[in-house]
């Protein structure tokens, strides 16, 4: 539905739904902290951000008759091939599974999670902070309305 909805806002809401489902999977996989992150970061900020952006751009909503381009069949074919191939491979290869069933997986507590994150993965964490900063600065630069364009210049871009 995310990809078929004509209305771009609708499809954003569908995206929220599917992301919620993904979060459910996380819970099933005993990654409760990540499920929370998923809901907070993805649904709480990313999708909301997208919706904001859509409203800002005031895209003509819903009256686009032709939302997809002329390569539908080819695209569907490619996507199907990818999906089928991957599935075939997954069901035919024995991965070194240490835990046979999901029921035996133990739940990861936030504390455990934090301990690992801040001991073994400090460096990537720091880099991620730099990355976010760079993205933030860059977005502001790009999205800022220049004085030459319009006068009502307000830095409304938040993230």
């Amino acid at each position: 539905m995310v990809i078929t909805a004509k209305h771009i806002l609708h499809s954003s809401f569908y995206l929220i739904a599917s992301l919620l489902c993904v979060a459910m999977f996380f819970i099933m996989l005993r990654a409760e902290y990540l499920a929370a992150v998923q809901i907070l970061v993805y649904i709480g900020s990313i999708v909301v951000l997208i919706i904001f952006a859509l409203m800002l751009t005031r895209t003509k909503v819903g009256d686009e008759t032709n939302i997809s381009n002329n390569q539908k069949i080819f695209a569907a074919f490619t996507a199907m091939i990818l999906f089928v191939c991957l599935t075939i491979v997954f069901f035919n290869i024995n991965l070194e599974v240490k835990v046979e069933s999901i029921s035996k997986v133990s739940i990861v507590s936030v504390k455990q999670f934090a301990e690992v994150l801040f001991s073994a993965y400090t460096l990537p964490f720091e880099i991620a902070s730099l990355l976010l900063l760079a993205a933030l600065v860059g977005s502001v630069v790009l999205a800022m309305k220049e004085k030459t364009e319009e006068n009502n210049d307000n830095k409304k871009f938040t993230k």
Binding site: P124, A128, A134, V137, G138, T148
Partner: protein, 489 residues
């Protein structure tokens, strides 16, 4: 805490750059426009200090820190020095370029901040030893470069370049990370050395197709970044649209970073990749297509930057010939080729920037007649271009020679022959530029006849030209250094 402080020593060069990046950002925010003039010298200074620190600290000891995700060895030091030196030259070129562009001038602090971010990302890339680090430093390289490509905000071309680079780049990232997840799934590890060990212990390359598909999908991501066909589509459009200085950045530092990452990933992680016909076949396919498509499509181009885009695709293809073999010789052939490529590419772009600045055109026509108005610069340009063709006695020749040798030793003579033939084709379009420089009269405003070149840029162009020649005259130095930098599992 003590463990942390020891670890920090190893990332001092990166930390220094990060420090200067933040300093620039803060200064430009709080002091404002008045300080713009000092930003470039500060970045140069920062890079220089970082370069010194590479030499001062930990040059010889090989160690892995941060849970083995970060490795300081000859390889990473080689690439650190390589990246820092080329960014030093690059930053100096931004000096004069940024004066000509209103938007870069308006957001100068952010501009240097983002460039320094790219540099940090590239350095981390060469030193990273697990999938997370590879992924995140690749992103640290990419995301700022998406933004920088769109820096000329009111220029439709620049915006479009940025959008295309962004969409395809994010797509490639998605594919790459999907591939990484499969590699992780197949081996159960994210550390490259552990992956290699798991592959050897369980003989995964032969029977585990999850791994192979994972590796191939990851290669797609890397191939995108290095601009190898058929994942090169962004390159011509982005190169043409982006501000020339950013095009230079994308062809030099981003490319070095992607190659460093690819070498790490393949030679350390999937160290036995030579045994898998699929991976080798994929690499051969990439290099074959790049060499052919790059050279053929460069022929009808009229825009210099677009031409260089196709030429860089072709060069990526030549470098990939070196990847098709897994021995030491092949790896250092790649290093030498990269060194040569970066030197001549920086040189050619710097000349192009001077021309663009005076004549306000990126067309090849704009080069007309500079052979007589600016004999020195055009001699340097000839050196760069001839070196790109791979003719002696310039650096490109040495690179091609070694790469082809590696190819022949691995029974890929047919690929090498195609490589040689396409390099003859490439002669056509490089010579076309030389022809314009020497044999065509400039048909524009006569006041623009002489290219204005600051002493500093001429000096740097000279250095690059000397470097391009010296790689063939005294190759032993370069070969020694590159030989030491070779990494293996």
């Amino acid at each position: 805490m003590s463990i942390m402080s020891i670890n920090i020593v190893y990332i001092i060069p990166e930390l220094i750059i990060a420090f200067f990046a933040l300093l620039i950002l803060l200064l430009s925010v709080f002091i404002g426009k008045k300080f713009d003039i000092a930003l470039a010298p500060i970045s140069v200074f920062g890079i220089f200090i970082s370069l010194v620190s590479v030499f001062v600290f930990n040059f010889y000891n090989k160690s892995s820190v941060f849970n083995n995700s970060f490795v300081v060895d000859n390889f990473s030091n080689f690439f650190r020095i390589f990246i820092l030196t080329s960014s030093l030259i690059f930053i100096v070129f931004t000096f004069s370029y940024s004066k000509g562009s209103i938007y870069i001038k308006r957001h100068l602090g952010e501009f240097y901040f983002l460039i320094l971010m790219v540099i940090i990302g590239a350095m981390l890339m060469s030193a990273s030893c697990d999938l997370i680090m590879l992924f995140i430093s690749l992103e640290l390289v990419s995301i700022p470069s998406y933004i920088l490509a769109g820096y000329e905000k009111m220029n439709e071309k620049s915006e479009e370049a940025s959008l295309k680079y962004f969409i395809l780049g994010v797509l490639a990232t998605a594919i790459l990370v999907y591939g990484f997840s499969l590699v992780y799934g197949a081996t159960g590890e994210i550390n490259l050395k552990e992956i290699a060990r798991a592959i050897i212990n369980r003989n995964l390359l032969e029977n585990n197709y999850v791994l192979i598909i994972g590796v191939i999908l990851s290669l797609v991501g890397f191939a995108f970044k290095i601009g190898a066909a058929p994942f090169h589509w962004w390159a011509p459009d982005t190169y043409e649209g982006a501000p020339t200085i950013i095009t230079t950045l994308i062809t030099t530092i981003v490319k070095i970073a992607a190659f460093a990452g690819l070498i790490r990933f393949l030679y350390v992680g999937i160290s036995g990749f030579k045994n898998s016909i699929w991976i080798v076949l994929f690499l051969v396919l990439l290099s074959l297509l790049s060499v052919i498509i790059g050279n053929l499509m460069a022929l009808p181009q009229k825009n210099f930057k677009r031409l260089m885009a196709y030429s860089s695709i072709a060069h990526a293809g030549y470098i990939l010939i070196g990847f098709s073999s897994a021995n030491t010789d092949a790896q250092f052939a790649i290093f030498i080729y990269l060194l040569a490529y970066i030197a001549m590419n920086l040189g050619a772009f710097s000349v192009a920037m001077l021309v663009e600045k005076t004549r306000h055109s990126e067309e090849i026509k704009a080069f007309a007649g500079i052979g007589y108005t600016n004999p020195f610069i055009s001699i340097c340009m000839i050196i760069f271009l001839i070196s790109m063709v791979g003719l002696p006695p310039f650096a490109g020749f040495l690179g091609k020679l070694l790469v082809f040798k590696a190819g022949v030793e691995n029974n890929l003579t047919w690929l090498v022959i195609i490589g040689v033939i396409t390099s003859v084709i490439s002669l056509w379009y490089y010579v076309n530029i030389i022809k314009h420089m020497y044999f065509v009269r400039y048909e524009g405003d006569s006041s623009l006849l002489k290219i204005k070149a600051s002493k500093l840029s001429v000096f740097l162009i000279t250095i690059l030209a000397i470097f391009t020649i010296s790689m063939v005259i005294i190759p032993s130095v370069f070969i020694l250094v590159s030989r030491n930098a070779v990494v293996f599992f």
